[in-house]
């Protein structure tokens, strides 16, 4: 994932943050302790100053060039104060010591430049990888969309060209079946196109809910009436408390959420299997549950199904967008949506609508 704020090399070049300098100093302090220990065991070891390359390198690679220079200066000063006779005095006047300090500074600069280059290379590689993955995702999405658009088109074309073909002997039932297929597939295309539009608006963040107080019971009744042909003869149970706390929400969006959940159930559960809709207050939220008694959703699929073009394993023919759109609308309201298992088989789709006590949009 990309960093949401400044890019890493903005944070690692320039004058550095105090924390970065402190970290450089801590690294040098640890090195000084080690040098002290070695010095007491093997006195007069000239090559010991090579050890200071370690904190400088660490500072350069992890905390940036400013921290590296701090580490170089601290190393030179610390070594001079602690291990060069007379101890406790700065003896930088001696040409040797001055040269040592300069060499450490040069080391710090070179190492931090190299570290910086490596870091930028890595970052470019990571950005390229992110771009590649998002391209791959887009290609996959386009392929799915074109397949989903093409299949109904192919069936419409086959049905229409069959009906228009001279000489074919269609019975009255055949003709009716082909015409029904054409209408169904045209509806399917229309649904897919409007789902795609909603999904792309959601993606663009252009679906700000227009919150106003509405009667949720009335909304559910309207949705059920509209979906009657699709739900067929399923036994329906609707449980809504007489008195619900007032909630302000976007009527069209919540209509779509409930519609999509019910259509999803209609597509993925056997005809005639019962459906339950339950609304109840839960804390400072309203909880809406749509429960079916179909094959249920495997725990591993419960999150996946809310992503665009992910489909369940029942072989039902939804657009693959309904649940993604439902989630988009629920989240636009500041609520959550999830799937629960139902004890004796089936799936429960639950979403919440927060009650907004401070009333943006609550006035009408």
């Amino acid at each position: 994932m990309s960093q949401p704020n400044a890019s890493p090399h903005d944070r690692l070049s320039g004058i550095g943050t105090p924390a970065q300098h402190v970290m450089g100093l801590v690294a040098v302090a640890i090195t000084l302790v080690v040098v002290g220990a070695i010095n007491s065991a093997v006195p007069g070891l000239e090559a010991i100053i090579l050890l200071y390359v370690v904190p400088i390198t660490v500072a350069a690679t992890r905390w940036g060039s400013a921290a590296a220079i701090t580490a170089a200066l601290a190393s030179a000063l610390g070594h001079d104060l602690l291990f060069v006779e007379p101890v406790g005095q700065l003896t930088i006047a001696r040409a040797n010591e001055a040269l040592g300090l300069v060499l450490l500074l040069i080391t710090a600069l070179i190492v931090s430049q190299l570290a910086e280059m490596a870091r930028r290379g890595q970052e470019r590689a990571r950005e390229a990888e992110i771009a590649r993955r998002s391209d791959a995702a887009k290609t996959g999405l386009l392929r799915t969309v074109s397949h989903d658009l093409r299949t109904p088109l192919a069936s419409i074309k086959a049905s229409v060209s069959g009906l228009r073909q001279p000489g074919a002997e269609y019975s009255e039932e055949d003709r009716a079946e082909l015409l029904a297929a054409i209408e169904e597939e045209a509806d399917r295309l229309a649904r897919l196109v409007s789902d795609l539009l909603d999904a792309s608006r959601l993606e663009a963040g252009a679906m700000v809910p227009d919150r106003r107080p509405h009667d949720l019971a009335e909304l559910i009744e309207t949705v059920l009436r509209r979906l009657e042909p699709r739900l067929g003869n399923r036994p329906l149970t609707v449980e809504i408390p007489e008195t619900l706390p007032a909630v302000a929400y976007d009527y069209t969006q919540v209509d779509r959420i409930i519609t999509n959940l019910l259509e999803n159930a209609a597509v993925h559960t056997p005809p005639g299997s019962p459906l339950e809709i339950r609304v109840r207050p839960a804390g400072d939220e309203i909880r809406v549950e749509v429960t079916d008694h179909g094959p249920g959703v495997a725990p591993g699929d419960r999150e996946r199904l809310f992503r665009p073009f992910e489909r369940g394993r029942t072989g039902g023919r939804g657009t693959g967008l309904g649940l993604a759109i439902a989630r988009g609308f629920v989240e636009a309201h500041g609520g959550r949506i999830w799937i629960e298992a139902v004890p004796r088989g089936g799936a429960r789709f639950v979403f919440t609508l927060p009650q907004r006590t401070s009333g943006a949009g609550a006035s009408s």
Binding site: R150, T151, S155, A158, S159, S161, Q165, A168, E184, R317
Partner: protein, 229 residues
């Protein structure tokens, strides 16, 4: 004569439904399969006269279904492919599919392909006709003579070889690879550049308007077809 039996293999129920109704109205009996595995079983059990095979199946690749069927049966196979799926189409044809239609297709187009495929399959003589007519071009395979509007056309040996192969498979699509292997031998299967040159040469000699061919038509991305109908 009993009605020819067609096996429709597609995982999309709405495509199967449209084909079932349209094919029945055109005098065919229709069986259906949803997956490649079901298709192979259905061919073995029901012995259809022709298979209409979608290339995008949930279990087996349609190309693989072609290959497995061709291990033991020569029944005609017409593949349904999506637009832009040229590679799979060519591989299916190379694996022995007889022809293809691209979705979305029209029923008359599919019926025409089916008639050609069934006619070829039902020939007693596997070499086909001795004389093939394409427009005003007559290809006499037994005498190795090609005439156009009665006048003999002189062809190079390679040109004649290509034309003979296309005539033996009249009205069926032949992939570039199949043509090259048949005429120039297996080592030339990739020499598609040369093939274009020969086809252009043939068109100059046979077509009324070589830049708008009516007989030797190109199937874009796939190969060529000699039209006799």
């Amino acid at each position: 004569m009993s009605r020819p039996r067609i096996l429709v293999v597609d995982d999309e129920p709405q495509i199967r439904r449209a084909l079932r109704v349209a094919l029945r109205a055109n005098g065919y009996d229709v069986d259906e399969a949803e997956t490649g595995g079901e298709a192979i079983d259905a061919v073995a059990l029901d012995r259809p006269d022709l298979v209409i095979l979608d290339l995008a199946l949930p279990d087996l690749d349609g190309v693989e279904v072609c290959r497995r069927l061709r291990e033991w049966t020569q029944l005609p196979i017409i593949v349904l492919s999506a637009h832009g799926d040229d590679q799979a189409k060519v591989r299916a044809l190379d694996e022995g599919a007889d022809d293809f239609v691209t979705k979305p297709f029209s029923v008359p187009e599919l019926l025409a392909r089916m008639r050609v495929a069934i006619r070829h399959a039902s020939r007693v003589n596997p070499e086909g006709d001795q004389v093939v007519w394409a427009g005003e071009v007559k290809i006499d395979l037994s005498r190795r003579v090609v005439t156009r509007a009665g006048a003999e056309v002189h062809l190079t040996p390679t040109e004649y070889g290509l034309l003979r192969y296309l005539a033996q498979h009249a009205d069926r699509v032949i992939t570039r690879g199949q043509l090259l292997r048949a005429v120039m031998g297996p080592g030339y299967a990739d020499a598609t550049g040369n093939l274009r040159v020969y086809i252009v040469g043939l068109r100059k000699k046979l077509e009324a308007n070589p830049s708008r061919p009516r007989l030797l038509v190109t199937e874009p991305g796939v190969g060529y077809r000699l039209r006799t109908e």
